[in-house]
Symmetry: C2
Subunit: 323 residues, 2 copies
């Protein structure tokens, strides 16, 4: 949550001269996203978000992400629409960094989503999957199952120091998912473009209505049901880390109202949920090991996902996830 | 430039229930101000800034600051207006911290103000001084001349390490201003409420028109002409640290169009400008000594003000400042 690149009024005016938006009427750095610099921009044409892409986003991936937003907005899904320059391009450059302007969406991110919001999230997630079914580009999931072991294993001693016994439990998770992987669990599932990071802070609500989905910078091609599994992890656990089955049922029902799960997807849900928890455990553990205390980027607690993994280890079937 | 306190949607809803503003339509942490947490808030009633006051602002001073904004907005000076709660209060509380909602002002902060913007700043600065002439409350300037020596002297070795010879030069500045102080230079000048920190990043412009003055959290009672001296330091030096007399003349002329300087004020301008430079040198030097490299708060270079002090030492009279 920080502005890394600060544009001057002159740099902004130069940037805006490539667009048909008019001059800046307001321009404020906002604390949104940890990987890029974001600014709220107002012009006579309306309100926008200007994003300057910092080094952690590969600029070669940007056309994939921007195309997704454009396709979703065109399909009426509540995603920000990229604004094209007069020369037709979406990407600009400022201070030697890639940047883009997208439309501003109203709404407030829920800290603790209720069941109605989980249902709305499920509906919009499925609508995204349907709208992107014919999306022409693909991008591998660089944080898919193959990445979990290499991310986690060098930090198992750290995991053990955070909670005695955790290293062995995580090894068992990795082994179980390796086995499932050997059985081809993911490849057999319908694939497509997924958001892959649809946490509540990447959504904007007006009351219980989902008014915006943002931050598509982890989007990739993977099993559609894995996206739902990420959301079950991110939305349906309570602050005490218990699983709220009412919220999960609402989310799955919302999803299936738009796109019914296939039988293999339903059967895979426990493994997908366990895998999704392992994926966020993996990156949080790696970040924990490399981010100094008190650094600008706030570290997220890997043990939150260790607790979620405990639930997933005990889950017996899709019915434990409301499916 | 950071959000220190992050309010949840529930905390925000509770806070808003005390106001007649309706529910939140948008809520984003913004990178504005280094001492408080600021949020852009939109409701059906319009756009606002919600500020949560962190520990560096004494809450006992808040009524003084909020009253200034209210008086200025009522007088038609371009300051944000505090929004009163239904119970008539301006200050609220969230997470045990004081907070307030003020109106949002459009505009962009100039990085390198031009002469027309300096003129506009001078006019509005004088209009603020006039509008606050009968302001009923007073607050001593805790960063006035009496504070400069105690802030600087413990860090003179650091100053010398930043630039050999600087310690002796700063001692001479302190001695010169002690002498001026003994001669009663400041007490003889018209006193009133001053902004005391009116840097370009505390202003919002639409083109060359000044559309907003913000951040009154250093406001205090002091010599009015000292406020102008702060602005001459903050607005009229170029990036190469040369003094731009054209911008200074524009600012002084703008000021005098609304409130002519008295003869003692004009005569005191070189000492006031030197003193203002010493004040910012003092706090930057102290911050430099206490802020670790790479901390969340960006350190500002004390040598910028050491360079400005060199100019002030050579100044012969008010004409060197365009007066």
């Amino acid at each position: 949550m920080a502005v890394y690149t600060d544009l001057t009024d002159d740099e902004l005016a130069t940037l805006l001269s490539a667009y048909d938006l008019g001059p800046a009427l307001a321009f404020k750095g906002i604390a949104e996203g940890v990987e890029n610099s974001n600014f709220l921009l107002e012009t006579p044409a309306g309100r926008f978000i200007l994003t300057v892409y910092e080094k952690r986003v590969a600029t070669t991936d940007l056309p994939f992400f921007m195309g997704i937003m454009e396709a979703l907005a065109a399909a009426g899904v509540v995603a920000p629409a990229p604004v094209r320059r007069r020369d037709g391009e979406i990407l600009s450059s400022a201070r030697g960094k890639a940047c883009a302007i997208i439309t501003f969406l109203r709404g407030v991110s829920p800290r603790r989503p209720n069941a109605a919001q989980c249902r709305a999230l499920g509906e919009v997630l499925a609508a995204m999957h349907v709208a992107l079914a014919s999306y022409p580009a693909a991008r591998p999931n660089s944080l898919g199952p193959a990445a979990w072991g290499p991310l986690i294993r060098p930090n198992l001693a750290l995991a053990e120091s955070l909670r005695p016994g955790l290293a062995a439990a995580i090894e068992a998770d990795l082994a179980a998912l390796d086995l499932a992987q050997a059985e081809g669990w993911r490849a057999a599932l319908p694939q497509g473009v997924i958001h892959a990071d649809l946490f509540p802070d990447n959504t904007l609500f007006l009351g219980d209505a989902l008014a915006g989905v943002i931050d598509f910078y982890f989007a990739c091609t993977d099993a559609l049901a894995y996206d739902l599994a990420v959301c079950l992890n991110a939305w349906c656990f309570e602050p005490d880390r218990s699983f709220n089955i009412t919220k999960a049922m609402a989310m799955v029902q919302g999803y299936e109202r738009v796109r019914p799960l296939t039988a293999p997807e339903r059967a895979a849900l426990p493994s997908l949920a366990r895998g999704a928890a392992l994926r966020f455990f993996a990156t949080r553990l790696a970040d924990w090991s490399t981010t100094p205390e008190g650094a600008m980027v706030k570290r997220k607690d890997p043990l939150e996902y260790a607790d979620k993994l405990e639930f997933h280890r005990r889950a017996k079937g899709p019915e434990d996830y409301g499916a």
